[in-house]
Amino acid sequence: MTATATIHQSEQCLLRPGNTNCGGCGMSVGLTMLGRALAEAGDTCTLVIPACCGIVTAGAFPTTSYGVPTIATTFASSPAVASGVETIRNLNDEPGHVICWAGDGGTYDIGLATLSAAAERNENIIYICYDNEIYGNTGGQRSSATPAGARTSTTPQGKAENKKDIMSIMAAHRIPYAATLSIAHPDDFAHKISTALSIEGMRFLLLHSPCPTGWKSEPEDSVKLVRLAVSSGLFPLYEVYDGVTYRVNVEPDGTDPAEYFLRQRRFDDEEIDLNATRRDCSDRTQRLQALATQYPPD
C-alpha cells in the first residue's frame, strides 16, 4: 500500500543517486545541499511534499529516491499535513525536523492560504519553496511567481504581470525566520539551513531554482544564471528575522542583468525592457540595504 524500503537515514543521503530529474535542475541541487546541511548538523527530517516535481522525484512504487521519510500531499495541503506530522513528532519527543518542500505553484498560488495559516499559527516547520517561476511538472504554465515578460504555455506572448513578492508576504506574518537561497552560493545556503535548524517556529526559505526545460536555457548555465540573478539584484540573498530585522548576505555588485535574460529563451529579447529591469534591480537593492541598515538583527 506504500513504498516500504526501510533504510536508516544515517546510511543514506537525502536525494539518492539514480533519480530521473532533468539535467540542470535547480531543485535537485537544492535537495542535495539540504541533505548535506542536515548531515553536517547531524540532523534528520521528514519531507512533506505537495504535487510538484519534488514528489515525482521520488520515483515509482515500491522504490523511492528519497533517503528520508517522505509524504506526498495534495497540492494545497503541505503546511497543514506538516502541522499534523510535527504535532505528533512533538507529542512523542522524536528527533528530526518536518520540512515542506514545495514548488512555486504550491506556494505562491494554490497553497498560499494554507501556508499563510501555518505561518500565522507559527507552526514548528521549515517550509522551503523551490521557485522555478513556472508550473514545471505540468509542462510550463505561468504561476504568480513567473516574472513579467516570460513566455510560458499559458502566456505565449509573455507574462504581463509582475512576479509576486512572496518574501514580503511571509515576512509580514512576523515569522521567526525567512531567507532566500541560491544554489550558486552553497556556503550561504548551508549557513541558512543551519540557522533555520536552530530556530523554533515557522521558517520560510525561498530557493531560486533554475528549470532548463521551462526557462528554455542550457542545463550547464543553471548555476551561472542564478549567480547572475544574485549579483545583479534580481534575486537578492537576504534574511528577515521576526519579520522585522533584515540582513543582506551577498551584496549585489552592479552586474548588468541583461545576460540573465539573454541566456533564457523564455524571454523575448525584443520585448524585455532592460532599462526598467535595471531600475527594478537597483530599487530592490537600495530598499533592502536601507532595511538592513535601519533594522539590523541583534
Partner: protein, 397 residues
C-alpha cells in the same frame, strides 16, 4: 453511566474527544478543525477538551482541517474532524486522499443541504456526494446512536482487516441541535473499548519510506482491490465491534440495517436517519390495524449491505425507498443502490423511489401516508416521485 440531556452535536463532540483521549497511552491524538453550521458545536466541544496527549489545530479551511488530521494519522495518532455541506465539498479532495491512504480517520458529518441557494437544513446530498471515496458511511437516527456509532467507528476503522476511514452522519438540527437523554460512557470504559492505535503503514522518523508517490497501473489496481476486500470484511468486523461494545457499555449500538415488522411484510419502507423514526411509528399504527407492512432502516450505506437488505425484504412484493437526497439526472441515491441489490436476485419486487425531506423539508406521518397510498395504488414502478412539491401535482409516471 451518566445520562445527560444533550444535543446530537454534543454527543458527537463527546465521542470524538473521549476516543482521542483513549489514545493517550499510544501516539496521542490531533485534528484540524473548522466551523460550519450546523456542525460547529462539535469542533467547539473538541477544542475545549483537555487532552492529555493531543492537540487541536484550528485551521483556515475544511481542506486543511482534513490535511492536519491526515498528517497526524500518517504519524500514527488517532485523528478525526467534523464538517457539513459545502464544507465537505471544499474538503472533498483530502477526504478522497484519506480513503486511498487507508487512514482510519473518523469524521462526523451533519447532513445539510448543499448550496446555493443558501440553506442550512437537513439533506443527505452532501455526504452521499462522497460515497465513492473509500469511506465507510453510517447514518444515525438519534443522539445516542450518533455517540455510539462514532465510538464504534474508531474501533472499526482501526481494525487491521478494515483500515478505512469512517463517516458518521446525522440530520441537521433534527438531531444536531435537538436535546435528548443520552448516556455518556466513562473514559475508562472507552479506554477498554478502544485499544491503542498501531497503524501498520504509519511514518517513522527513521525510516526512508515514501507515502503516496507514483504507482504504475497494475500496482494501484491491486491497492484498489485491497480496498474492495477490506470493504467486504466490514460487516463481520462490525458485528465483532458491536458485540464488544455491548459487553463493555451494556448497550447495543444497533445492527447495520435495522428492521421493524418485516417478517411477513408485503410492503417495506426503506429509510435512513430521522425519517426512520417517523416511518416506524406509521408502520406500528398500520400493523396494529392489520396491514402487512414493515420498515428497514439503513444504518450503514457504505459498504452497501446488499444481502441483508434483500433478506429483510424476503416477503415483500413492493418496496418504497425514501431518499432525503437527489442525484441530479438520476434519482435518490439509496434507491439506486437498492435497485442494484435486487437486480438478478428479486426482479419480481416493485421498487419505487420517493424523494422526500429534501432541502430540509419535514417528513411527517402524513407524508409517509401519501407514500404508502401511492405505493399500494401502483401496478408498476416509475420515475422517482417528488414529495412536498407545493405548486402542482406530484411528478409521476
Amino acid at each position: 453511566m451518566p445520562v445527560e440531556v444533550i444535543t446530537g452535536n454534543h454527543a458527537a463532540g463527546y465521542a470524538l474527544s473521549v476516543a482521542g483521549e483513549a489514545n493517550r497511552t499510544a501516539r496521542g491524538v490531533a485534528c484540524g478543525i473548522y466551523p460550519i453550521t450546523p456542525q460547529t458545536e462539535i469542533v467547539e466541544y473538541v477544542a475545549r477538551f483537555p487532552f492529555s496527549k493531543g492537540r487541536v489545530v484550528p485551521v483556515e479551511s475544511e481542506h486543511s482541517a482534513m490535511a492536519v488530521s491526515m498528517g497526524a494519522s500518517m504519524s500514527g495518532a488517532r485523528a478525526f474532524t467534523a464538517s457539513s455541506a459545502n464544507g465537505l465539498a471544499y474538503m472533498a479532495e483530502n477526504i478522497m486522499v484519506t480513503g486511498y491512504y487507508r487512514l482510519p480517520i473518523v469524521m462526523v458529518a451533519v447532513n445539510r443541504t448543499l448550496g446555493p441557494p443558501w440553506n442550512i437544513w437537513a439533506d443527505q446530498g452532501d455526504t452521499l456526494m462522497l460515497r465513492d471515496f473509500a469511506w465507510l458511511q453510517f447514518y444515525c437516527e438519534n443522539n445516542q446512536e450518533v455517540l455510539d456509532t462514532t465510538l464504534l467507528a474508531f474501533r472499526l476503522a482501526e481494525d487491521r482487516r478494515v483500515l478505512l476511514p469512517v463517516l458518521t452522519c446525522m440530520d441537521a438540527f433534527i438531531v444536531s441541535h435537538t436535546q435528548t437523554e443520552t448516556a455518556l460512557p466513562e473514559q475508562d470504559k472507552v479506554d477498554r473499548f478502544l485499544p491503542d492505535l498501531d497503524l501498520p503503514h504509519r511514518m517513522h522518523y527513521d525510516e526512508a519510506r515514501t507515502l503516496g508517490g507514483l504507482a504504475w497501473p497494475h500496482e494501484e489496481l491491486s491497492m484498489r482491490l485491497e480496498i474492495d476486500e477490506a470493504m467486504k470484511r466490514v460487516p463481520d468486523v462490525y458485528q465483532e465491534c458491536r458485540k464488544s461494545f455491548t459487553e463493555i457499555f451494556g448497550r447495543d449500538p444497533g445492527d447495520l440495517i435495522q428492521t421493524f415488522a418485516t417478517d411477513d411484510a408485503e410492503l417495506v419502507l426503506v429509510t435512513s436517519g430521522t425519517m426512520a423514526t417517523t416511518a416506524r411509528e406509521v408502520v406500528r399504527q398500520r400493523r396494529a390495524a392489520g396491514e402487512k407492512i414493515g420498515l428497514v432502516k439503513l444504518k450503514m450505506y457504505r459498504p452497501f449491505p446488499e444481502a441483508v437488505l434483500r433478506d429483510a425484504c424476503q416477503s415483500a412484493t413492493r418496496v418504497a425507498v425514501l431518499d432525503r437526497n437527489y442525484a441530479a439526472g438520476s434519482g435518490g441515491i439509496f434507491w439506486q443502490d437498492t435497485r442494484a441489490a435486487f437486480q438478478g436476485h428479486r426482479d419480481d419486487v416493485l421498487i419505487q423511489n420517493y424523494l422526500t425531506g429534501l432541502c430540509g423539508g419535514d417528513v411527517t406521518p402524513a407524508v409517509i401516508d401519501d407514500i404508502l397510498a401511492d405505493l399500494t395504488s401502483r401496478s408498476e414502478a416509475g420515475n422517482p416521485v417528488w414529495m412536498g412539491i407545493e405548486t402542482g401535482e406530484k411528478t409521476r409516471q
